[in-house]
Subunit: 465 residues, 2 copies
């Protein structure tokens, strides 16, 4: 295939910007079109979370585009979960037994700006802002855009169109509406929503709580989390049921109710939030949804990537990472010298879909783990044991969290299969009191590995039947 | 709640017609509005299958409306699956060990006409045809209709609106488009489509193959089935992959290819289809999709029922039966004297949703069972054993098929849980050669029951973790 083909990318968020950069580096002519204004010139919240957790799979995509070093100064390492109980006690649960394995808090805006700068610097990239995609012809392909200011409409054509226009993708909607196209689709909302709040920087410009951790206040059905920002502040997110339970977004409305709820549930956080009631009133409640669909391409003319293809809930910190890994997987497929875009896009979906389905399911698992299990003694016991395994036998053991977050060499689907089975094995052994303290750590590890192997075989047998 | 409230039902197919009849019998004022012409006056194919399998859950709904006797003369009992192999051998696999448990082939058109006649005979039912629902206001509630002939538009209001407008429901689409409503939704298409064909009546007006059976030609990935009609004909349906495998809907196009395929795969059926190539060319390929969604009501003003709420693939013969059971479940809820429609609709969804989710999954299970397993020796061995259990110990054993089809006293979700576990238990015992012929039937049954119980407990334990 000639390297001068023209690719139209709809959506210049994190995924679209990195994709534009990488495909331009490969020699394609790129048009990158974005609905919103240029975030480097306007102070906009894209209606999405302010900071994110960047980890190995995301870094893989950035590395491919030559950005691994440049992003270092945007990153704040988080080595584990800092769990806060109701009595203001805290303890750190490390993400891995290995010091060099950690996740990073990063500003969505800063990272997106860097990606846009890098893409814009290439002569074969053309970026346009304030252009809302309003319709597509998937077969030609063509896309129609309306200018936010002038309201003028224009048609853009290209050899292929890639939709990286997020969870509410217009490109995906046009696939959904196409009567000639059997498009499987699902959107699933949790019964919880989220609201962003904040801790301000300390008076000396430092951090009011431990900087290098992801803070969690697990409270069974609901939870509060906090991630650090470079300026000393934290972005704090409340995950709360819309309608259920004693306290929910529907019934928490007066200043008094809100303050009483925080004071009771998150007393140490409450002390750091003198502006709580104002922020709570001003900031919207966002929904938490999962989107899956297939096929991602219609006839090799259009392709969905990133959240447009697989929006997930934020609880594994993998939304952005999965999108950047998408770019890396597509890049690998492009190396294979297929002769048509249809072959490329089908091979890409075949390689990728099972993994994005898996991370969607894992992200929902992790909501339960974060809001409830992190506070349960048996899960704390399990995490301690896993940390010990990883510290002493890093080659022999990787927890589910480590497999998902730090093992870019294996896919999410494999991580899910092994990780869930290991979890089940350890919990079964712990609840049957089979991991007696008379056993050495190596003996415990052997028991866990054997139990895991047996459970995996059982699953295999059941599948065959 | 006053019994004179006005209910607008959108869609006068099988579910909408029975619902209108039953709610009118309860005293409500009913407007039933249908997009298509009156099927009693026009010869239309609704784009749906011509005949259907009516079984106990469907009969429960019809009984409630006082129609159990009237439908008898429309029914052709089918006592089991008549399996046809490639060498034209056949054998009958009974649906149940009990003679009185069978399913019925019934004409969709005849049954719908009966339901419309019965509803129309009531003074508090108003039926309008040729009125396409084009939009809704879910909050008022109001629905807008366009007349097929005059193109005039009109608005109808009611106390509540119930959408029984099928798999492509406009009522559901308006929920999907409502930005203020967190509507979880999925549509999943199989890789297979279906095409309807036929066997004509014998020259003497009788049947060319066994009348009282559902005929199946299982061929691994694809299959042919046939259900009898009252006039001696059979409606024959080919389930075939769209694109995959040696033969598929994409590559079967010439008369020669079609005939060669049928001659090789379905030789006995082929002999009964002199008009095969013409029918194949004329009849469309239909998609096979599953729709799930939630919530079914927005604020107690609108409700989805039948295929609009839960469209399923046809392989368990439960689509119509589930829709009629919907009417029976809603009827039970109405007996409970809730004070608002919101309470009624929420209680209905709570009672019903788990079961319609289950039948959707069971229907997909059964596709695998019909197209492949029915031909496999171990599954035939399993069916023989289950039939013997049911004949000798009807109180002690019910197969998954019997639980789903003949046990209206338990829900689909329970049938799924018990049925799948039993299947797994028998297959494990058979493949481990544990059901030795030296054992008595009672001993075999005891082994199966113990194994099932253990597997169910295992699942329970895993869930707790």
């Amino acid at each position: 295939m000639a390297q001068k083909e023209h690719i139209l990318i709809v959506g210049a968020g994190l995924c679209g910007s990195l994709l534009a950069l990488r495909l331009a580096q490969r020699g394609y002519k790129i048009s990158l079109v974005e609905k919103r204004p240029d975030l480097r010139k306007t102070d906009i919240s894209a209606g999405r979370s302010i900071n994110l957790a960047l980890s190995d799979r995301g870094i893989r995509g950035l590395r491919l585009a030559g950005l691994e070093e440049k992003i270092q100064k945007l990153c704040i390492p988080m080595h584990g979960r800092m769990i806060h109980d109701k009595n203001e006690n805290t303890f750190l649960s490390p993400y891995s037994g290995l010091e060099e394995e950690y996740i990073n808090s990063i500003s969505r805006g800063d990272l997106n700006a860097l990606l846009l700068d890098e893409a814009e610097a290439l002569s074969n990239v053309n970026i346009r802002f304030n252009q809302e995609c309003i319709a597509l012809d998937l077969d030609k392909p063509e896309a129609f855009f309306r200018d936010f200011t002038t309201k003028e409409e224009q048609k853009l054509t290209a050899d292929v169109i890639i939709g990286t226009d997020g969870a509410g993708s217009v490109v995906r909607q046009s696939m959904m509406q196409d009567k000639d196209f059997l498009f499987s689709f699902s959107q699933d909302y949790l019964q919880h929503g989220y609201k962003e709040l904040s801790f301000k920087p300390a008076k000396n410009g430092g951090y009011q709580v431990e900087k290098n951790a992801l803070h969690i206040w697990p409270r069974g059905e609901n939870m509060l989390i906090a991630l650090p920002n470079l300026d000393g502040s934290f972005t704090v997110t409340l995950f709360l049921s819309y309608e259920k339970g004693l306290h929910n977004f529907k019934n928490l409305s007066s200043k008094e109710e809100i303050e009483a709820y925080f004071k009771e549930q998150f007393p140490d956080a409450y002390k750091l939030m003198p502006h709580l009631a104002e922020e709570f009133a001003e900031n919207p409640v966002g929904p938490l949804g999962t989107v899956k669909c297939s096929p991602w391409t219609k006839n090799g003319k259009t392709l969905l990537m990133g959240d447009a293809a697989h929006a997930i809930v934020p609880f594994y910190g993998q939304g952005m990472n999965a999108s950047f890994e998408d770019v890396a997987v597509l890049d690998q497929i492009l190396d294979k010298n297929y002769s048509t875009w249809e072959q490329i896009f089908k091979a890409y979906e075949k390689a990728r879909k099972k993994d994005t389905d898996a991370i969607a399911d894992l992200a929902i698992d992790n909501f339960d783990e974060m809001k409830a299990h992190t506070a349960a003694p048996i899960f704390q016991e399990k995490r301690k044991l896993e940390t010990a395994f990883e510290q002493n036998y890093p080659e022999q053991y990787a927890s589910k969290y480590r497999l998902v977050t730090f093992r870019e060499d294996i896919g999410y689907a494999e991580a899910l299969k092994i990780g869930r089975t290991q979890d089940k094995a350890i919990l079964k052994l712990l609840s049957a009191k089979n991991l007696d303290n008379k056993l050495s750590l190596q003996e415990k590890l052997n028991l866990v590995k054997t139990k895991t192997k047996n459970l995996l075989q059982d699953t295999g047998v059941v599948k065959q039947l």
